[in-house]
């Protein structure tokens, strides 16, 4: 069975799941008490204005019609009006999503490089003091919630060793790069604005680090244990007997293998990075989609909540499919299987 049909099946599945998610969110939003039109216009707005808005929001039609209209406007890109910002949710999303995206991207890079690197190091020097340090760090890292990491980093780098900024995306006085992708680091890079690039990168480091620490510890641990157990395997003994240098074995043969379970875990980890960002962005006052989602949740801004959850739902489904594809490619056993998965 080819990669293509695998992809097709997963996509079909994903669409079904997303439809289900949208129904769930729609029901939650409609079932809760409160008149959305009145809430949107405020308590002192004249009644005729509220009526007009109610008609505009289609609140007088039956539930399934409302759902159909909601979905069709969703597909056109209209996610409704946010209570807090008083502007369309999709505008808010366009503004805040790139911030979270580049934050998570940097965190993913840190956690992959760091986790895999540490894992390989610990496996190579297993049972030495280096291994011990890595293992202790791994345990502590895993049990520390992201928000505790965020506060610790805030304390260390915000006050005791103040080398990184502790809030926002860019320092006042640094000119913003023109909006190409919305990701400040990328945009500054593309336009050759080095000052802005370093500045925005520095603003990203603390939130990304806080996000990356726990999963990095986890990845290091899994990488290490998977490589350690593989080190004892027969084919490794054979390779050593043939005179292949140890480093070569580690990186060329073993890493590939150990990479598979690590990468599968990492897909879940990257998704949970977005989740952890909800609290980390709050601590660092980082204006990303997760902080927007968190504030929408705390303020019961229903349109914003369902908009953010749907965006994340679509995003996570895509990420899962992507990672599954990568794993399927890497693991010949899956790739060459003829049976369905």
């Amino acid at each position: 069975m080819s990669l293509l049909s695998f992809l097709a099946r997963r996509l079909a599945l994903a669409i079904v799941v997303l439809i289900g998610l949208s129904i769930l969110l729609f029901l939650i939003a409609r079932v809760l008490p409160g008149d959305p039109a009145r809430i949107a216009l405020g308590p002192r707005a004249p009644e005729y204005a509220v009526e007009a808005l109610r008609k505009q929001m289609n609140l007088d039609k039956p539930l399934y019609t409302q759902y159909y209209l909601w979905i069709s406007s969703l597909l056109k890109g209209d996610l409704g009006m946010s209570l807090l910002s008083r502007r369309p949710v999709q505008d808010d999303v366009k503004e805040y999503f790139p911030a979270t995206f580049e934050e998570v991207l940097l965190a993913a890079i840190i956690l992959s490089v760091g986790g895999i690197g540490l894992g390989i190091l610990a496996a190579k020097y297993s049972n030495s003091w280096l291994d011990g340090i890595v293992r202790i760090f791994a345990y502590l890292g895993i049990v520390t919630p992201a928000f505790v990491w965020a506060i610790m980093l805030l304390l260390i780098f915000g006050y005791w060793v103040p080398i990184f900024p502790i809030q926002g995306r860019i320092s006042p006085g640094v000119t913003l790069p023109p909006v190409i992708t919305g990701m400040l680091t990328l945009d500054s890079l593309l336009t050759g604005n080095w000052v802005a690039f370093w500045d925005t990168l520095k603003h990203l480091i603390l939130p990304s680090l806080a996000l990356a620490m726990a999963p990095m510890a986890q990845a290091a641990r899994i990488m290490r244990s998977s490589m350690c157990s593989d080190l004892g395997a027969d084919h490794v003994a054979a390779l050593t007997a043939y005179g292949v240098p140890e480093n070569r074995i580690l990186t060329k043969y073993l890493s590939r293998l150990s990479l598979i379970p690590t990468i599968s875990i990492m897909s879940l980890d990257i998704i949970s990075l977005f989740a952890a960002a909800f609290v980390v962005e709050l601590v660092f006052n980082f204006p990303g989609l997760s902080r927007y989602g968190m504030q929408a949740i705390l303020n019961k801004d229903l349109n914003a909540i369902s908009g953010v959850l749907l965006i994340f739902g679509v995003l996570f489904t895509l990420i899962t499919i992507l990672i599954d594809l990568i794993v399927a490619y890497l693991d010949p056993r899956i790739r060459l299987q003829r049976k369905s998965i």
């Binding site: 049990v143 506060i151 949740i297």
Partner: protein
């Protein structure tokens, strides 16, 4: 494949305990968990100022750094932090154990049904429903649900349970659907055993090991999600102490009054570490290595 037979004799139980005790780290974990449980249960007797965990304020004594009278210092309301941390262990334990106790029966039951009826529409419907839930990470779903309800301990437990149960359903489904095709199950069917008997007496016992393992390992994570919820204000309300709330309250006063955040944060890490080590030990105990 790693398997375990739960039709235990007393000897095999003794063997498992012995095996557990050989692993030093797991034993440490066990005693840490024991410590947490004892502190939680006996907090009113162990805490130096049990009244401070209730409706109590003393602004003259506010923001005192750690001292002999107050080993963890006092918070901005004048309450002893050590006593409050001890009482906060209760909320954490109730969250961890309570949520697991809620979702395991439900999740396992649903998974069993889906696994037994594997290949039929029942299976497809149930699995698609769980798919919807696991699209979003548990934390995000729990946050959204908790925010829509009134903030109490029970509601935050409900929110976490709502987000977490599908994982047990899927795990059980995986095990059940493979066990379902085993020979002894088919034998039972042929001899006319009822569906209930097959599901609960034949299939279930063979799924238990991974379920128990997952339970033991996950208590720590549930507590972590609970702490995150209370960090943003969605758990117990004052004056009841909650570890996440104490950390977020103290964060306002960094770096000058560092003790208000630090000790609850260390307590969170301690509890999660305890359950993690213990859970690792349980996992090692319940699985046998294949040579």
């Amino acid at each position: 494949m790693k398997t375990f037979n739960l039709n235990a004799t007393w000897n095999s139980v003794k063997r498992s305990i012995y095996k557990f005790s050989r692993n030093k780290i797991s034993v440490v974990g066990f005693f840490m968990v024991l410590f947490v449980v004892i502190v939680a249960i006996f907090a009113p007797f162990l805490a130096p100022y049990p009244k401070h965990a209730g409706a109590f304020v003393d602004y003259k004594n506010a923001s005192q750094p750690p001292s002999l009278a107050h080993p963890f210092g006092t918070d901005v309301f004048g309450r002893d932090i050590l006593s409050r941390v001890m009482f906060a262990f209760r909320g954490a334990l109730i969250m961890g154990l309570g949520v697991i106790a809620m979702i395991v029966p439900i999740g396992v039951f649903v998974g069993l049904i889906a696994g037994y009826y594997r290949g039929t529409w029942i299976d497809t419907v149930i699995m698609r429903i769980t798919d919807i839930f696991i699209t979003l990470p548990a934390l995000i779903l729990a946050l959204a649900v908790a925010a829509l309800l009134r903030p109490t301990l029970f509601n935050s437990m409900m929110a976490v349970a709502f987000a977490w149960w599908p994982w047990y359903a899927r795990l059980t489904y995986g095990m059940a659907s493979s066990v379902r095709n085993e020979v002894f199950v088919q034998a039972a069917e042929t001899t006319g055993a009822s569906k209930a008997h097959i599901i609960f007496k034949e299939i279930l016992p063979n799924c238990l090991a991974p379920i128990f393992t997952k339970m033991a390992l996950e208590i720590g994570w549930v507590i972590l999600v609970g702490a995150t919820l209370s960090f943003v204000g969605l758990g117990e309300q004052p004056p009841t102490p909650a570890l996440g709330t104490m950390v977020s309250d103290g964060a306002k006063y960094l770096p000058h009054q560092w003790w208000i955040s630090l000790f609850p944060a260390l307590a969170i890490m301690f509890i999660i570490l305890a359950f993690n080590l213990f859970g690792d030990g349980v996992r090692d105990m319940l699985t046998t290595e294949e040579v």
